[in-house]
Chain length 267, copies 2
DNA sequence: CACGAATCGATCATATACAATCAGATGCGA
DNA sequence: TCGCATCTGATTGTATATGATCGATTCGTG
């Protein structure tokens, strides 16, 4: 991974979480501690992050809105191969002509690529997903009303009366911050709210979670396991990690990253 | 593989991923490291990519993502100079901090360019306008819920309960198909419906109509002159054409196209 | 205040990327 | 076909980045 890539990734994470530890970055960047420290120091010198003991902090206070890049390009993102592999498999769960709901997120954004040829009714709260769908597919796209939150890139209405309530999806595709025996966990209250709204508009909940999510915890439980019907993850997941989901009656699909790589090269 | 081919491939990849390493290109181009470096350096000299250690980066700043599949661009549009002149003048009607509504259309799309530095609450039913605002300004953006109609590029809900009803704009900016003594005329029933919804959410209606619209008629009257407070047109309009509006108590502003051209060149 | 643990900065050996150079390959016009 | 110009790939020495190590500092805890 290039220095510049690490820097972007660090900045992205700092923006997202407003604070990151060296330890977090260790796994995510696959670089040594020394390098990560150097990266953080460099970024701190440039004033792009604030150096704090144990990690880095956002320069900007969290509440202050700022212009953030839409994830139009997956490359700025982490776990890209995993997410693509998951997306490819998840897309196979879709029947032509049905209506689906796609919750915003980088994992679900990867799904769009595989929806080009479908003829679907799609509701999504993600502006970038809608934009890409609009540009690359012929599906019918519906947006909920609301304000565009730049940080999360989702459309969310502060009000009750929402177009969303007139939509019914056969399936909901969603990512998550963490996924474990408690269910779907998120770290951002805004995302919780958005996701909760969507959960009411479908029966079939499909969670797309790369294997790192299975070890991730947070404070907010969006919904318990009983609400989830299918989980799509990648082969980085240990079998014992998946047991709890299977025991809860959830269909678990494991996507092979290496196999997806080959398919990708063919295309 | 020809030099040109490599260059375009590199540009394509950089565009897609926003960062590529020499190593990546090594496999993809099947050329030697030296050649790839030379290619990158050449492209960097031309300003087409940014040279970074280990590879190349997109010139576009990370925080200004490009707009994928912008369904229409001003360049494909007619009366561009007129529309830009009108937009520049219309933008001056806006007070910092206020909340405005922008109806979809190519004329109002031109307005976005002049809204970059404002700090506004903006509701728009136009997907492209929202996308461009999101990418180039810091304004707060709200979308009505609904389906995206590709032809008109607007978001319109077939239902009654709409986020739109919780919004109130100090001003509504709208284009039109035709503008005459009957009021605002449109040719597309869908646009009529969208516009009608917006009209209910404001008092102050500002119509942006290049002079060709003053001679255009259609079958559907969206609203009469009594609802319009201001008309912004260009200096292609004959004074006698504007009399009827002034007589109705409407403020008429005429934008000078040639003067706008000069301002544009300065920028 | 004292202790251990975590974090940090500095240092150094190694790995990687770089520009410069040159020889061979390729394309092009005479 | 020859000769020239250009492009390409390999090589080399240099600059830079990286990761491991280690002592110093800071932090949390008792």
């Amino acid at each position: 991974m290039l220095e510049r890539e690490r820097h972007s990734l660090i900045l992205k994470l700092v923006e997202e979480r407003s604070i990151v530890s060296v330890g977090d970055l260790l796994d995510l960047l696959g670089a040594s501690e020394a390098t990560i420290r150097r990266d953080i120091n460099t970024l701190a010198e440039r004033g792009e992050v604030k150096r704090i003991r144990g990690g880095a902090e956002a320069v900007r206070p969290r509440h202050q809105p700022h212009l953030v890049g839409m994830p139009f390009s997956l490359s700025q993102d982490i776990s890209v191969p995993q997410k693509r592999a998951i997306a490819r498999v998840a897309a196979e769960l879709i029947t032509p002509g049905e209506s689906i709901i796609i919750n915003g997120g980088t994992t679900t954004f990867a799904l769009v690529e595989f929806l080009a040829d479908h003829d679907l009714d799609i509701l999504t709260n993600s502006f970038p997903i809608a934009a890409k769908l609009l540009a690359t597919s012929r599906n019918r796209i519906t947006l909920p009303g609301g304000t565009i939150f730049r940080e999360q890139n989702i459309v969310l209405s502060p009000f009750d009366n929402d177009t969303i309530d007139n939509f019914w999806g056969n399936k909901l595709f969603t990512g998550c911050y963490g996924l474990n025996r408690f269910g779907i966990m998120e770290a951002d209250p805004l995302i919780v709210q958005a996701q909760t709204k969507l959960l009411k508009r479908t029966e079939d909940v499909i969670v797309m979670a790369d294997s790192s999510k299975l070890r991730q915890k947070s404070a907010m439980i969006v919904t318990g396991l009983e609400r989830i019907s299918t989980i799509v993850t990648d082969d980085g997941a240990k079998p014992e990690e998946l047991e709890v989901f299977k025991a809860a009656g959830i269909k678990v699909i494991v996507a092979s990253v290496s196999q997806d790589d080959e398919l990708q090269k063919l295309a």
